[in-house]
């Protein structure tokens, strides 16, 4: 089983950190994983994106042309990448910032107001953790335990933030159920 | 009888330096070889040689040599010394090498204050390739690539490397001497001793420029060359110590 996801948004939305967390989690779970970022000039202006592939076997291209899943953190990302999702694939839409709807009936859409959820929890910074929860809830590539373990690992010494991050993760999971 | 002069112990008794009669390179070699002998450095020495006439004394000098590409000696010497601080590293370069194609390597090694000793032979032309114009060629002096003489408008003025390097913060000793008569050669010997000692003590970067003669390409006898240095070259390149940080 090989699952690809492209995560895209503004610089500063934590797009790259979600991607890396997925990769670290997959690596810890003993799977093959690749993380391929857009690099160079792009990282300093506006949009950022990365492709993550998690697989049970050797990975071919780390930059696939047809995606199993898109996570669109902002409107320009939705506009640019929605058409790259396969028939039967899915899109997680950050509906706090994206107003468009998925029009292709062969693609499953999940609207997650990640920024609103994060603000309600008291920290705008955890919007990407909400999205991490949503991804794990949907993709089947990683378990809930894998997700929580990587959150704990990434927070490291900032254990006081763990509860809020777990809550954000759970909200994300629930949002796609 | 008391012996008052002898050849530097480690230099070859059989191989010639390979320089033209009247050339300053042989004198410059003798001076820095003398300094190596004085401080007992021969077995620690790595001599970074340039492309140009500078390298012709390879068989004579009989110290370990790493031959650089044209202009790159500053970078090579930098790295050898960094990775092998126990070695004594000299970069010996001519004016085409140090002041034209290797300007960047020269300035940056100086600016980093590498613990190396740079000996710069300024003979106002590209010698080995046959007398083309160098950044150090005199205004009005003819060269095979400036056959009517160097012009300020077309070529700019002679480039004063010692003065430029003395403006940098890091270098510890920057000086210019001449090799056209005995009095100046003795002063040059003292300057080279000082530059070598600086590296021995681990105190940093030193740069010694030596105004030298090139009878073959200047198309002058050695005596005429010495006069030309006095009357013309030293006006563009005044002698002196430009930096001496205690």
């Amino acid at each position: 089983m090989e699952k690809s996801v492209l995560i895209a948004g503004f610089g500063g939305q934590g797009v790259m950190s979600i991607g890396k967390m997925l990769g670290y989690a997959a690596s810890d779970a003993g799977k093959y994983a690749s993380f391929y970022p857009s690099y160079g000039a792009e990282q300093r202006g506006g949009t950022a994106n990365c492709t993550v592939i998690i697989s049970d076997e050797e990975i071919g291209s780390p930059a696939v042309s047809k995606l199993d899943m898109l996570i669109a953190m902002n409107q320009p990302s939705f506009d640019k990448f929605a058409k790259k999702v396969k028939k039967g694939g899915s899109i997680i839409v950050n509906s706090s910032l994206v107003t468009s709807k998925v029009e292709d009936s062969d693609i499953a859409a999940f609207y997650v107001p990640a920024n609103d959820i994060a603000n309600d929890l008291g920290s705008p910074k955890v919007a990407n953790i909400v999205i991490l929860g949503a991804y794990i809830g949907l993709s089947g590539a990683l378990s809930e335990e894998d997700g929580k373990a990587i959150i704990k690992k990434m927070l490291g010494s900032k254990a006081d933030l763990l509860d809020m991050n777990y809550q954000a993760f759970d909200k994300g999971l629930q949002a796609v159920k | 009888m008391e012996k008052i002069y002898e050849r530097v112990s480690f230099t070859s008794k059989t191989s010639p330096t390979g320089y033209c009669p009247g050339c300053g390179h042989g004198t410059a070699h003798k001076l820095f070889a003398r300094a190596l002998e004085h401080f007992n450095l021969r077995d620690k020495t790595v001599l970074v040689y340039p492309v140009g006439c500078g390298g012709l004394a390879m068989p004579w000098i009989n110290v370990n040599v790493i031959g650089a590409a044209h202009g790159r000696a500053g970078a090579i010497a930098t790295a050898i010394k960094r990775a092998n601080p126990e070695n004594f590293v000299i970069s010996y370069q001519g004016d085409g090498d140090l002041a034209a194609i290797g300007t960047a390597e020269t300035i940056h090694a100086a600016n980093r204050g590498e613990s190396i000793t740079v000996i710069f032979i300024n003979n106002a032309n590209f010698g080995m390739t046959g007398g083309q114009m160098a950044p150090t060629t005199m205004l009005g002096q003819t060269a095979t690539t400036a056959q009517s003489g160097r012009s300020l408008e077309e070529h700019g003025a002679p480039l004063r490397m010692a003065e430029m390097i003395a403006t940098l913060d890091a270098p510890k000793y920057v000086a210019r001497f001449a090799l056209h008569d005995a009095k100046n050669i003795l002063k040059a010997q003292q300057g080279i001793m000082k530059a070598v000692e600086l590296q021995v003590k681990g105190e940093g970067y030193s740069f010694v420029e030596l105004i030298s003669m090139c009878p073959t390409n200047w198309k002058k006898s050695p005596a005429e060359c010495a006069n030309y240095i006095d009357e013309t070259v030293l006006k563009a390149f005044p002698l002196g110590v430009f930096k001496d940080v205690k």
Partner: protein, 353 residues
């Protein structure tokens, strides 16, 4: 051994340290910047030295100088930087100085694009600089191999006293993958360079001279012949390639580096549909794995496909030279930072069944 999820450029850098590399000089250029960044912090931890050179040229000559003192040394860059480094690469080859060069290549010519491409093949394999010499060239297809090949490159460099060129690309340099890094080498166990390093005197006290200047034609020719003999020895002993489902294949796809892993996905997809297709992946690019192509049964092979991220094609010339007209070879090419897609390879094969 534990596995790590690590970026290609960092894996390259760490593998070099573990191989015993104690000197690196380089100059910033995308997409390889994490190599010098990582080593600037890492080398001092192990008693090594890092210098950010004032230019690509200065950097490669810093490596030349230190490698000439017998210390394992490396530089890295990307296409435009290698154009500048070519002078120093020639000196490494001419001076028989072992060193490792890593090209995390991008699209060109000129500034081109920072996106990944395979447009430096000729430059790496056939003409790293004027003067008619070769580098040993090896091409990883993923982050694991990038680490493994850089690690091994130092041994190959020492064995033959040659520059070894690791030809990666921006995809391998910038992606993260799960990697098992090689073990830390004990410097005391590395082969001694005392017999030749140029900051040591000979036992009889005479000096060692590293000079690439050969004024007598006969001497230069002798050296050229010795180098040619070494290249022949590489061709005989060091060719390396991977075969995947080649035994019963009627169609052969060939590629190297990043293109090969993409081509392999296409072969799997086509096999699942019953197409008898296989992959030959060149691992060493010089010596080129001619034997992989020489031993094919051309009575059975209907068509061949050559995939690479370079337009015009470059790798295809060496493939043609190895196939010697015994099969049609159909190019599948992208360029300038456009990444080869599995579907392109699948479609090209299907159109030609």
């Amino acid at each position: 051994m534990s596995k790590e999820f690590i970026k290609g450029n960092e894996a390259i850098a760490e593998a070099a340290v573990r191989a015993g590399c104690r000197f690196f000089a380089g100059y910033p250029i995308t997409p390889q910047n994490e190599v010098p960044e990582y080593l600037s912090a890492r080398l001092p931890e192990v008693g090594g030295h890092f210098i950010q050179g004032e230019s690509e040229i200065a950097s490669v000559f810093m490596v030349f100088g230190v490698a000439a003192t017998g210390i394992r040394s490396m530089t890295s860059s990307s296409g435009p930087g290698f154009a500048l480094k070519s002078e120093g690469i020639s000196f490494l080859a001419g001076g028989q100085i072992p060193a490792v060069l890593v090209n995390v290549s991008r699209g060109g010519p000129a500034i081109g694009t920072i996106e990944p491409a395979q447009q430096d093949y000729f430059s790496a394999v056939h003409a790293p600089a004027p003067g008619g010499f070769r580098c040993f060239v090896i091409a990883p297809q993923n982050v694991q191999e990038a680490a493994d090949f850089v690690y091994e490159a130092f041994d190959i460099a020492d064995k033959y006293r040659t520059p070894v060129y690791v030809l990666a690309d921006g995809m391998i340099g910038n992606m993260m993958e799960v990697v098992e890094l090689p073990k830390m080498r004990d410097l005391a166990e590395l082969p001694s360079n005392d017999s030749w390093r140029f900051n040591k005197y000979n036992d009889d006290g005479s000096a060692r001279i590293l000079s690439t200047y050969m004024p007598m034609g006969e001497l230069m020719q002798k050296k050229n012949k010795e180098m040619a003999a070494m290249y022949e020895a590489w061709e005989k002993n060091e060719q390396r390639w991977e075969e995947y489902m080649v035994d019963d294949a009627e169609y052969i796809v060939t590629a190297y580096g990043s293109s090969a892993r993409i081509a392999k996905s296409a072969v799997k997809e086509l096999r699942a549909e019953g197409v008898k297709v296989g992959l030959i992946r060149a691992i060493t690019l010089f010596p080129f794995p001619k034997d992989a192509f020489a031993k094919l049964d051309y009575a059975k092979v209907k068509k061949m496909f050559c995939a690479e991220m370079s337009i015009p094609g470059q790798y295809i010339y060496d493939v043609q030279n190895a196939v010697l007209g015994q099969s049609q070879i159909i190019p599948i090419q992208t360029s300038g930072g456009v990444i080869l897609e599995t579907d392109m390879v699948v479609a090209a094969v299907k159109e030609n069944l």
